[in-house]
Structure formats: C-alpha cells, structure tokens
Point group: C2
Chain length 369, copies 2
C-alpha cells in the first residue's frame, strides 16, 4: 500500500517519551517505581505500548547481579507484548495499531556468520543487544518491559496473533522460544522419547511443545503434587526424580532431555538416562558450574549441550506455531506493585507457571505515564 | 574356497593352551610374570599368536583399580596384533597365517539396537565384553594382550594390512579407533577447524587423522618442546594452552575439539573456544568429574560430548583407511620386562607416543610359552 507524505509525517512525529516503569536501582534494593525516557523512533523503529510483560527467572538473577556485570538502574522484562503506536519512516513490517512482541534481544551486528544465518542470539560482534541490562550500538543502556512503552528496530519485533490470549502470549517471547528452539534443533518429534527437567516457566512450555511435536514426554519433578498438572499439560509419564527406582527404570532410554532448572543441581543421574547419541540440553543457567562425570558421556556417546533463546526468524516461526496450535503459557497475572512478592514466590517455585505483569497497573498506579 | 574334512580337522584340533603373560596380581603390586590357559577355539573362534601389544593409559587405570571393579589377576592389553594360528570349524573370515588384530572388545550381545547398528561398543546387554578385565557370556574372566596368544570370536577380530609396520599398527586398535570414530561421527573434514587437546597416545593419532581428513588442525599442549613434533605430525598451528593470550586469539572459532587428556583438567577455557554448534568431545577418561560452567554452553549452543572406541565395522574401516594413507602410530618398542618402567614414564608423559610390547620378549624371557 503506497504511503502519503502526510501519513509518513504523522508516523514519524513522535519524540522522546517519558516512560513509567519499575526498576532495580541496585542489586540489594527491591524493584521500585522509576521513570525514564524512551528514544524518539528512528526510521527503522517501531514504538510499542506495552500491555503485558512476563516475569522471567533471569530478571531476578540480573536485578540482583547474580551473573555479574549488571547495569543500574535496571528496568527488567523481556517478555513484552503490546500494540504499535508509531513507526519510523522506513518501517515496512508493522503498522500502527498492530499487535507486536519483543523478546530477549533488540539488535545485533547483522553481519557476522551467526546473524546472517538467522541466529542473532549468538551474534559474534560482540553479542546481541539484550532488551535490558545491555548497551546498544550507541552505548545507551537498554531498559526492558516493566514499563509502559518500548522503541525497537522493526527487525527485532515479532508479529503476534490476535487469536491467542495476549497476556498468556507474553512468556512465549522468552520461555517459549528458549524451549522451542532446542527441541527443534535436536529434531524432537514423533518417535522421540523426551524428558523435561523442572516444571516452571520454561519447563511447562517445553512440556507443551514436546507434546505438540508428537514426542513421548516424561516430566521430571521433585514434587508429587505436580504430577497431575504435568499430565494435564501433556506429559505421558511423570518421574519423581528423587526416587532412585523410578529413575533407574528409565536408564539409557531418552533421546533428548531438556533441563530447565536454573538452580545448581545434580546432573549425573540424568545423564545416565540418555541412550546412545542422546543429548541433555541446558536452558536454565545455574550460576555455579555443573559437575559432570565423564564416563556418563563416554559410555553412550552422549552430549551435554546448552541453548540460548532462538533467532528472530525462529521466534516468529514459534509464535506462528503457537497461534496454529492454540499454545500459550499458563500464567498468573499481577499488577506491577506485586513484583517483589512475585520474585519471592518464584524462588519458592510458587507460581503456575509464569507471572505476567498487567501494565495497566503502571498507568493507573503511583507513577504517572 | 571349499574346505576339506581334513582341513577342518586340522584347524579345530587345537586344545587349551598354556599362555605366558604378564599380569597385575593386585591393584598395589607391579605387573609381573604370570601364566594362564587360553580356551580351545570354539567353532567361531580365531586363535592368534600375539606379536605386538600397545600399552594404553587405561591399562594403568585398570591395573591399579582407579576406575573401580578391577578383577585380579589381570593381564592388561587391548591393542593386539599378531598372526592367526588356528581357526574354528565355522570361521569364514580368517585363514591360518593371516595377520589379525584385536581391540578393546571381544564380544557383545549382538541383538540390541546398538549391536545391530554396528555400534557394539555401546552394547546394552549389559555392555560389550572387554578384552581384559571383563567377563564373557560364560562368566569367564577375559585376559588381554600382554601375553603370547589370544582366542577370539572371528566377528571381533580385525584384518590388518601387511603394507604397514605391524608393531606401529597395534595402537590403532584402541588409540586409533578412539580418535578416528568421533572425528568421523562429527563430520570433521575439509573446512573444519579442529583442536586436539593432549599429545600422547590418543592425541597424536587424533592429530594424524584430523590432518588426513583435511581439517585445519590446532594442537593444544602445555609443552613448548612439543611444538615442533606436533607440526611434524600434522598440526597447522600449535597453541600453548597455559598462555591466555594465545587461547583468547582462538575464542569462538573451533568446530570440534578432541580432548584426549585422561588426567583431571580445566575444561572451561576450551569450551570458550568453540563456535556456534561446536562440540568438545572427551575420549580421555578422567576419574574425577569435570566442572562445566553452563554459560559456556548456552552462549553458543555448544556441546560437551564423550565417545568410546568405535564399532567393529568402523574399526575395520579405520584400519583400511590407515593402510591406504600410510598412517600408523609413533611408537617406542619395549620388552615386556620394561612394562612397569613404561607405566612410570607414561605418567610423566615421557613417551613418543605409544609404548608397544614386543611379545618375543615373553617367549624368550623368564616365563616359558
């Protein structure tokens, strides 16, 4: 559709916008009200009014500087969904009024081998620009989705379906792609026996995807009271991982195990469950190194792998797959004012299965938009 | 060629044979002279006069019970080459007088998925029968190649070329296949950048194979005085692994790294050298677990894998490849009487690059054959 000069002028007139948010001002203080400015959209930018933002375990790790190198003040949040409010003059993929999503990255070098192959999350120069707690090409600190709006280059913005519950779509942008990508990469499908370790934000999405891909899925959990839920979410079988007899019954039988546990944990007992050429893939990120007995790898040509989110092309593919198959996250909605309480509950695994912030609470809350 | 009844009778008349050997009588005593009986060849058996036997690092681990479960008395040795002296009535693959080799296994269940796919080294029922320090299907303890002869089912015996130096062929049966198999499995070839950690018995074979497959090969070593040798053996580049600057220059660039180090060692600094989808494969077997920082896997979808020897079909393929390309091990020949001294030297990395026992020393030595 040809654009008139009038249209273009309207779309690009937006200036710097004051943005209401919640931020960590230091590693030791709670998340609290904060205000900052989003840049005026550049020619390739899309401005998005944030409607919902998922709360990821990595928000806690970074707000508390548990991985090191955190930049404060920090507005966390990289599971962002909302509606386009303005587009830059060169934007061709989005229109004002459309739904749009932003995940864990907002830019990358675009010229390295990984970027060219659509794996921008593994950008080599020197890495993709994280949605928050990162620095962009101009050295500006990025700020995330615990806020009323965001401005992002259209190439790092995702299309969302209006067929899905929008709030429950937010966690797909991180928890969704982080589990979808390795399951696809290692060709999980009909005939695969797949294990999922951990039944939290990532785990429950991994379970849904592995089931949707046609695999025989076994959920590992320490909680007897998660068994019924796991089966409802798609598990063919549930193994209580602390029960050595149950574990032994599955020795040497798994093609793929997805490990979503982000706390330090024993990995050896799961490596024994892999069959020849089996892969145990970490997507959780424990801050302490894992202890790996080498014989458990040698004995079956097994691999311990890791995978980080997914590229933009694959994230769109995942979102389209979800729209087609009616897949969303199980969520508990919270107002931003409950963010610290939600962190405390997440650390006790007391959430089914993802908190999502309703950013209406920011607009109507104590901080003006 | 049709066989006469006379021929069959001649081939099967062999009975139990007294066999001169050297054995570990306990985990705490040196290897010493020993005598035992080899079984009379069964219909599918090949009896081999052992001419040379390589000395593998795992001989030391097992003789000293460092992996647990060792069976004494133990005649180590699983890099066995020699000449066929008798064949059972049903043997079709070998003739008396032919060269023959035996590697790390002498039997397996033959019916599990892995055996059927020619990956007998990963046999599931309950594992392949090791050449020594194992128990066969009848519960008999197996004894290895530090001896004058061995009797093995023809399906686990390899054909050797008379074009290669026979003594230098022995280490191919373990060190050779152990490095050849993972390089093939992970498709190392022209265009690959491959690292080899450790320049011992396994490492120098990995280096030769990776070079022969057309890869760009980087040898890692702690010893400045191995640089010239590594280049002579096929390394395009040599990196002193204790030099952080040299290591950093290779960050994120390797498709595959073969880790042949069997002592506990730092793995994290090598994982950083992998590119996206890169694999670091262990073939050495440290007896302590490795410490693996998860971020080094997540950041590039990298894998830490393990690989154990190779199947019989692939071992034959490797031996044929070696015959075609003139590849053998670099060896230092020893009489069996120097076995304990050779162990001590191996533990100091003082061997270029594999000790091979000349079993003539057993026949002419203090123990009668």
């Amino acid at each position: 559709m040809p654009r008139t000069a009038e249209y273009e002028a309207k779309q690009t007139k937006a200036a710097v916008t004051k943005t209401a948010a919640y931020a960590a001002l230091s590693a030791k203080t709670p998340i609290e009200p904060f205000q900052f400015e989003r840049r005026a959209p550049r020619p390739n930018d899309v401005a998005i009014e944030i409607l919902f933002c998922g709360v990821c375990h990595s928000d806690i790790h970074q707000a508390r500087d548990e991985w090191g190198g955190s930049i404060f003040p920090m507005v966390p949040g990289h599971e962002i969904v909302g509606r386009v409010t303005a587009v830059g003059s060169s934007v061709s993929k989005f229109e004002v009024g459309e739904l749009a999503g932003v995940g864990c990255m907002v830019d990358s070098c675009r010229v390295c081998e990984n970027c060219k192959e659509g794996e921008e999350q593994y950008c080599n120069n020197p890495g993709c620009t994280l949605t928050y707690n990162g620095r962009d090409k101009n050295g500006e600190v990025t700020q995330g989705g615990y806020s009323t709006g965001i401005v992002v280059d259209e190439n790092y913005v995702l299309h969302l379906s209006d067929k899905l519950d929008l709030a429950a779509t937010a966690p797909l942008l991180c928890a969704g792609i982080t589990t979808y990508s390795p399951l696809r990469h290692w060709n999980v499908g009909k005939g695969s026996k797949v294990g999922v370790m951990g039944l939290g934000g990532l785990g429950h999405m991994g379970l849904k995807f592995a089931h949707a891909f046609g695999a025989h899925v076994v959920q590992f959990t320490t909680s007897q009271n998660k068994v019924a839920d796991a089966k409802k979410l798609g598990a063919d079988d549930v193994v209580i991982s602390t029960d050595a007899t149950q574990m032994a019954a599955h020795a040497g039988t798994f093609d793929f195990i997805l490990d979503t546990i982000s706390a330090p944990h024993d990995i050896a007992s799961y490596l024994h469950l892999l069959k020849r050429d089996g892969v145990l893939c970490m997507v959780g990120a424990p801050d302490a190194p894992l202890s790996v007995p080498v014989f458990s790898l040698l004995g079956r040509r097994a691999s311990l792998a890791g995978s980080g989110i997914g590229g933009i092309r694959e994230t769109q593919e995942m979102l389209d797959f979800c729209a087609e198959h009616g897949i969303v996250s199980e969520i508990e909605m919270i107002p931003i004012q409950k963010i610290n309480e939600s962190y405390a509950r997440m650390l006790k695994n007391d959430v089914k299965y993802r908190f999502v912030i309703d950013t209406a609470s920011l607009k109507n809350g104590s901080v003006a938009g």
